[in-house]
């Protein structure tokens, strides 16, 4: 089995994977980072969204081997251990942007990418359009939209925008 190396949440990791092993399987099964979820098998739901070199990607639609040398951030890597929550995590909690919590990690990771691309002042229309790749069955999105707008406002400004569009 081929070996793969990448940096996940700031830590260097390696593993032996089958060529067909998906990034999400590598994260969940090899690294036991189970915060990233699988909600579909057709790249529709976004429960699996992580950041690959700073950009949101569906980890169910990438092979682990494609991520050789990449820097991956998962939901587990957003807040410092024992530190405060990331403003976007806090905003989801404050605005009741989750119910069962299954879509939540993917929603939060996608939300951060929306801020990266569209800045800290997000209107409702932009958020709704940009959430096209994330499905939530519980909340009706009302409070997710509120949470993302609030979280975006509370995030540091410039630093979020450097990655090229």
């Amino acid at each position: 089995m081929p070996a793969v190396s990448m940096t996940v949440n700031g830590k260097a990791v390696t593993g032996d994977v089958e060529a067909r092993t998906l990034l999400v399987q590598f994260l969940r099964e090899h690294l036991r980072l189970t915060g990233t979820h699988v909600g579909c098998d057709t790249s529709q739901c976004g429960a699996c969204v992580v950041h690959v070199d700073g950009i949101a990607a569906k980890s169910c639609t990438l092979l682990a081997l494609q991520c050789e040398g990449a820097k991956i951030t998962t939901i587990e890597g957003l807040a410092e251990p024992n530190g405060p929550l990331h403003p976007m995590q806090e905003a989801f909690r404050e605005n009741h942007g989750l119910q069962c919590g299954y879509c939540t990690p993917g929603m939060i990771m996608s939300a951060l990418d929306i801020v990266r691309r569209h800045g800290n002042e997000l209107d409702e229309h932009t958020i709704r359009e940009q959430l096209d790749g994330n499905i939530c069955r519980c909340t009706g999105y009302h409070n997710i939209v509120k949470a993302i707008a609030a979280g975006a406002k509370n995030m540091p400004k410039a630093s979020t925008r450097q990655a090229a569009e």
Binding site: R20, T42, Q89, R93, C100, Y102
Partner: protein
């Protein structure tokens, strides 16, 4: 109101783990030596199994075992069952066909499991499953419920003629016919309530482990009711004695009804784990979920409403064919009967109602409860009839509703239910204001100028929740009681655990139940834990569905808290050397009436356990009480939803431009959580009305078998919602709560379709009202409407 008590919008205890990715769902649990189960499923909707050859599969790398239905039968593993007996009009019992967890002789729907591969890894399991050779003799399938009973239709189960499970009825046929004969106006509608796929975002999963030393089985399972799962798997399937089987439902990623039922996969995992003596895990793919999760709705109905010349409703009648799919799922029989026809009175004083329901088998996935379960179907029938009648009689839809609202309570309907409390005028009035219905005419004129048709649709719905008084449901055929249990354990340090038979899968019980305890005992919210979902920890309980956890589950906690308080007062009396009758308890403090003597909650808790101030003969040590609460009635949440749409004349695309929901849920424990439940329900209701629909082709293939083909509502399909509340307390439980989990899904479809049909000026529109459907309806209605 305290900051964490009843009525406060307390932020949820459970959220920290979910926003940090540290929740633990079934697939996140890993057991040492775990194997993976991969099912071999039928590609045919209806076929005889001629042979199954597992030889090649067994030789594949990593394969531990390959098991078939023949072995399941040899091992005497019993069938899955439906636990609610319905009798036909002629008195005969419903016809339940055998449902083995693995089909051995015949498959009856696409996705029916015929074998299972147990392998070291998921990939190895999949590779091996492809090597299982099944020789089928393909039969003609029937998928349309309206055709299932026709002469010459393929017979799905031996000995079950015309694929008919039961022919049931409710109400007074004669009185209803007489009322129709005397009516000044009759409105008639043919309605298809479209089949839905629940699609909780967490796919179903099961992990089974066998302990050779103790002969115990443990099942981690995506379940809304772990005790019921254990009971059925023990007592009916015969897997293991109840006390040798532990079921754990950890964090569960949404249910909406679909995780109530006992499914073949969990049975097979348990059986296989004992056979291979290693843990066996199965996690459903979404494609598998589309084929095998129980679907919802799927009714074909003809309905009629009789009115006098003044618009007073005289009678309602309906004839429904309900599709229950290939097998009868756990509670499937009750959904189109006692959860449906009993709600056909809506919010209205209707003297006579008669409803006939035929339930049929088809070669499709089993159909069972999905959010609302029967009540959305009933509301759709009633609210479409009322709206269309108003239009036909040229009466304002709100006005026709007002003329017929029930005004005094209790109110006995002709279809079993006794409504206990409500104020339907109040919710309608508030909704009319919030939705600015007065300004609608102008908005409609403005819309036309930019090529849009505006419409307004009402849905004044009612539901029966707080399911349910055990005696009542027993008399209607339920195989179980629908009480709930609670145990309140006070620890020596004064912190509290509540063990509840309810199960949370998004509802936030860890928060709302703790609010109740915090309010009653006056102790900090942080000092309270809610424990649920593990049959080894929690006494028997009935689980969460039917918006029952507040009305029934919290009532059980109230009862247990009453007992805790009574016992704590006894302890305090000894501690404070006072008469028990003089002890008062308030804000977490025990005082002696007329003195300044007092003891803190923690002191009394500690003294209950150290037992230094009283003898065991006077008082048992400890502070822990249990209660089993059986409700006295259903509860009847009701309200008014108003939907405003804009339809694009050129494309038929509908935009929901305004949504108003005013609901009466009785006492509200946490308004933030209640509003969230309303939002989610409305989204599912709008999904049914505009986007979702499971489609089988004639051969029984599920055409909408993935999220690419089945349209899940996304953020840009929905508006933000205006949510308001009115409040009449339910007299049927100590807190006055009614339940809020299903209201949105029940109210919404009728509001949407009433709005679109108002906009396009024709009633000839089926769900889902996709752009294509609306555009076609507009075309059919030409020359009047189409541009």
């Amino acid at each position: 109101m305290s900051a964490t008590g009843i009525g406060a919008a307390v932020r949820r205890k459970e959220d920290f783990r979910f926003v940090t990715g540290s929740g633990q769902y079934t697939d996140d649990v890993v057991r040492p030596g775990e194997t993976r189960a991969v099912f071999v499923r039928s590609p045919h909707a209806h076929a005889k199994i001629k042979s199954i050859d597992v030889g090649a599969a067994r030789k594949m790398p990593g394969v531990v075992d390959v098991l078939t239905g023949a072995q399941l039968a040899t091992d005497k593993i019993g069938n899955l069952i439906c636990g609610w007996m319905i009798h036909s009009k002629d008195g005969s019992p419903m016809k339940m066909a055998p449902h083995p967890a693995l089909a051995a002789a015949k498959v009856n729907c696409v996705g029916d499991a015929v074998a299972v591969v147990i392998a070291e890894t998921y990939e190895q399991g999949r590779d091996a499953a492809e090597k299982v050779k099944v020789d089928y003799d393909v039969l003609t399938a029937v998928v349309d419920p309206a055709k299932a009973q026709a002469p010459g239709a393929p017979q799905i189960h031996a000995d079950i003629a015309n694929n008919t499970i039961y022919q049931w009825h409710l109400g007074d046929a004669k009185a209803t016919a007489a009322a129709f004969a005397a009516a000044a106006h009759v409105t008639k509608l043919d309605i298809v309530n479209n089949r839905l796929v629940p699609n909780a975002m967490e796919p179903r999963a099961a992990l089974a482990e066998y302990d050779v030393g103790t002969d115990n089985l443990t099942l981690w399972n995506t379940s809304q009711n772990p005790h019921v799962a254990r009971l059925v798997i023990a007592a009916f399937v015969g897997m293991a004695p109840e006390h040798k089987l532990r079921v754990i439902a950890p964090d569960v990623g949404g249910g909406f009804g679909s995780k109530i039922f006992i499914y073949p996969e969990e049975v097979v995992c348990l059986w296989a784990a004992r056979k291979v003596r290693r843990p066996v895990k199965w996690t459903c793919d979404r494609s598998e979920a589309f084929l095998t999760d129980c679907h919802g709705r799927d009714h074909v109905t003809h309905a009629e409403l009789a009115l006098d010349a003044q618009g007073k409703i005289l009678a309602l009648r309906a004839k429904t064919i309900a599709n229950l799919g290939a097998y009868m799922s756990t509670f499937s029989s009750s959904v189109p009967t006692y959860l449906y026809a009993t709600l056909l009175s809506g919010q209205y004083d209707i003297p006579s109602i008669y409803c006939e329901v035929d339930a049929v088998y088809t070669n499709t996935a089993p159909v069972d409860a999905y959010r609302g379960a029967g009540r959305p179907e009933a509301t759709f029938v009633v609210e479409r009839l009322v709206e269309v009648a108003a239009r036909q009689m040229k009466i304002e839809p709100a006005d026709l509703r007002k003329r017929n609202f029930i005004k005094t309570f209790p109110h006995q309907t002709p279809v079993i239910m006794a409504y206990d409390a409500g104020d339907y005028h109040a919710s309608l009035k508030k909704a009319l204001e919030i939705a600015d219905v007065k300004g609608f005419a102008k908005r409609k004129r403005d819309a036309v100028r930019h090529g849009k048709l505006r419409g307004l649709g009402f849905s004044t719905y009612i539901e029966a929740c707080g399911i349910a008084p055990s005696q009542a449901v027993g008399s209607l055929g339920a195989g179980v009681g629908l009480w709930e249990s609670a145990e309140v354990r006070v620890n020596p340090t004064g912190s509290v655990e509540v063990l509840t038979g309810c199960h949370a899968h998004g509802q936030g019980h860890e928060t709302t139940f703790a609010q109740l305890v915090s309010e009653r005992l006056g102790i900090p919210f942080e000092n309270i834990s809610i424990v649920h979902g593990d049959t080894d920890k929690v006494q028997f309980g009935m689980g969460t569905y039917g918006s029952r956890s507040a009305a029934v589950g919290m009532s059980a906690i109230v009862k247990a808290l009453d007992k805790v308080e009574a016992k704590a007062k006894k302890v305090a009396a000894h501690l404070l050397e006072a008469a028990e009758g003089d002890i008062e308890f308030k804000d977490g403090k025990f005082t002696v009436a007329g003195t300044d003597k007092q003891a803190a909650w923690g002191d009394v808790a500690l003294n209950a356990y150290i037992a230094h101030k009283f003898t065991g003969q006077e008082l048992e040590p400890g502070l822990k009480e249990t209660s089993f609460y059986d409700p006295t009635n259903f509860t009847f949440p009701a309200g008014c939803h108003i939907c405003e749409v804009e339809v694009d004349i050129d494309t038929g695309k509908t935009d929901i431009v305004n949504w108003t929901a005013v609901d009466d849920f009785g006492t509200i424990i946490n308004p933030m959580i209640v509003e969230g439940q309303v939002h989610g329900g409305i989204a599912q209701g709008i999904g049914q009305a505009l986007l979702e629909g499971a489609v089988y082709d004639k051969s029984g293939q599920l055409v909408t078998g993935s999220m690419m083909d089945y349209t899940m509502p996304r953020a840009h399909d929905l508006p933000s919602f205006h949510v308001g509340m009115t409040e009449t307390k339910s007299p049927s439980n100590p807190l006055g709560v009614k339940g809020c989990g299903e209201a949105g899904a029940i109210a919404a479809p009728a509001a949407v379709i009433n709005a679109i049909t108002d906009a396009i000026g024709t009633e000839d529109l089926a769900m889902p009202a996709t752009a294509n459907a609306v555009w076609s309806a507009l075309k059919r209605a030409t020359p009047r409407q189409a541009a």
